[in-house]
Chain length 297, copies 2
């Protein structure tokens, strides 16, 4: 199976810049496309800021990190970014109508052979396949934040995705150091969020109804499953604002989750939203759950 | 607060014998009551079989294990087991009418000051408090299997449980080496099962609908949360038969779980029910997920 060697990442946001750099680090020739020089400047800053993480988490040398940078270029010219490219990875804003327009644009400008993949968290490949002009060569490849160490890549095709193209993307995911998570059907939330969200919401219910303290829930889970974190530590990682929006949208009418929603809203108003604000259910940078004594009493 | 020094454990089954021995190991004077000499003989075998686990998991010496055995006695005489005892721990069969009768019996035979606690997984303290003749001195203390290392003890009172008695049981749990998980209200499933079951069922749904392989679900969870096990490894620990019965009872009509129920039933008929049968989603004693290469591709 022919390896996909040239890649354009559309959108240099948090995930886009990580996907682009990780691909370049692993030897791909990568272009980041974004809509303005200002956006590209920020993308470049995000990429350069990855150096410490790659050195710390992957024991990469400066030379290795620099070699990745040399395989990466930046442009605001979509037509040139698409000329002769094997793969386009769409990581633009999560908005249905903007994505519709963007795929229609890609369909016109990209070579016929080019495969398109989307990193979208919330949309299915079926949602945009008809815009791409190549439903057989379009699927989702969904990355997690901090992809160099949280290296799952969920692979999800539409009913029209070609099995051969699907396998090319599985291989591509492996080549850039990911563990491919192969979904056989479309599933909103993929694998991870499908199991994560009900678990988080059940924990949120216990806190919302004042049945038990958040720290006690985490302790229970950590002892029972041997995991290094429990659900409230994960709320702090995701950010309360993000989870609040998910619950509002998916379970806004669920009577069991109303107290949870109310309490999350209070915390958001107090700016206690998780790691990003220095305080959520724990205090950062040294959260209480990471203390070896946390599980002892 | 006065420490509870003398304990009778009613029921020498798997959990009852573990609770009794762990209490004795930690210095309590313990009696196991059961209904027949045959039942007591089995309880004694279960207790003696714990030696290797205490040596391996807690680095206990033979002398320390023997000292625990010396603090433990066995009887089929309920009246003598209750004479002058500080605490009765009920770990008898999970059957409502048998428990009703048993608590009414205890109410007659035990000293007025004696505290009763139940290890029940499925009943709330409210269900039996009126049988005990002492609703203020009755609550649940729920242990996990292999209590010497899975050392959570979920503490759950009824609205009539005295806060002082509740705190005595929290202290007792600490004294016998448990991490007390304090619930402020009654909650079916306590903390652990409240968050565990929806997570397991979401994973079961993904397998049931053939969206993804069990091993892939576990991989996703293990990478994303850093946990040593995923949901399908936990199914193998719980045993598919046990989880099948839980889903049948709680969610038997849920259309999303019908394929999952059907597939679990097939596996049960094939005797692939988890660790106890040597095969479930993994093969034992060396399950695939414990191989360091499991997360690498």
């Amino acid at each position: 199976m022919k390896s996909l060697a040239t890649v354009t990442v559309a959108g240099g946001g948090v995930l886009g810049s990580q996907i682009a750099y990780q691909s370049a680090f692993k030897g791909k020739s990568v272009t980041i496309y974004d809509i303005s020089n200002e956006a590209l400047k920020q993308a470049k800053q995000r990429v350069n800021a990855l150096r410490d993480s790659y050195k710390r988490d992957l024991q990469a040398s400066d030379e290795q990190f620099d070699a990745g940078l040399e395989r990466l270029s930046y442009t605001t010219d979509l037509a040139s970014a698409l000329a002769d490219v094997d793969l386009v990875i769409e990581a633009i804003v999560e908005n249905r109508s903007i994505k519709h327009d963007f795929y229609q644009n890609l369909a016109k400008l990209a070579p016929e052979r080019t495969i398109f993949i989307s990193n979208s968290s919330t949309y299915l490949p079926s949602d945009f396949m008809e815009d791409t002009g190549r439903p057989d060569r379009f699927l989702n490849l969904h990355f997690a934040n901090q992809i160099w160490k949280m290296n799952t890549a969920e692979v999800m095709g539409s009913p029209k995705t070609s099995p051969k193209v699907y396998q090319q993307i599985v291989q591509f995911a492996r080549e850039i150091g990911m563990v491919p998570i192969e979904l056989k059907k479309e599933q909103p939330g993929y694998v991870l969020n499908t199991i994560l969200i009900p678990w988080l919401n059940a924990a949120g219910y216990l806190w919302g109804e004042d049945i038990v303290d958040p720290q006690t829930v985490d302790k229970t889970w950590m002892i029972a499953s041997g995991a290094p974190v429990g659900p409230f530590a994960i709320f702090d990682m995701i950010g309360l604002r993000t989870h609040y929006n998910i619950v509002k949208e998916q379970e806004g009418d669920n009577p069991k989750l109303q107290s949870f929603l109310r309490k999350m809203k209070e915390r958001i108003e107090e700016h206690r939203v998780g790691i990003e604000s220095g305080e959520g259910f724990y205090h950062y940078p040294n959260p209480e759950y990471a203390d070896p004594d946390f599980l002892k009493s």
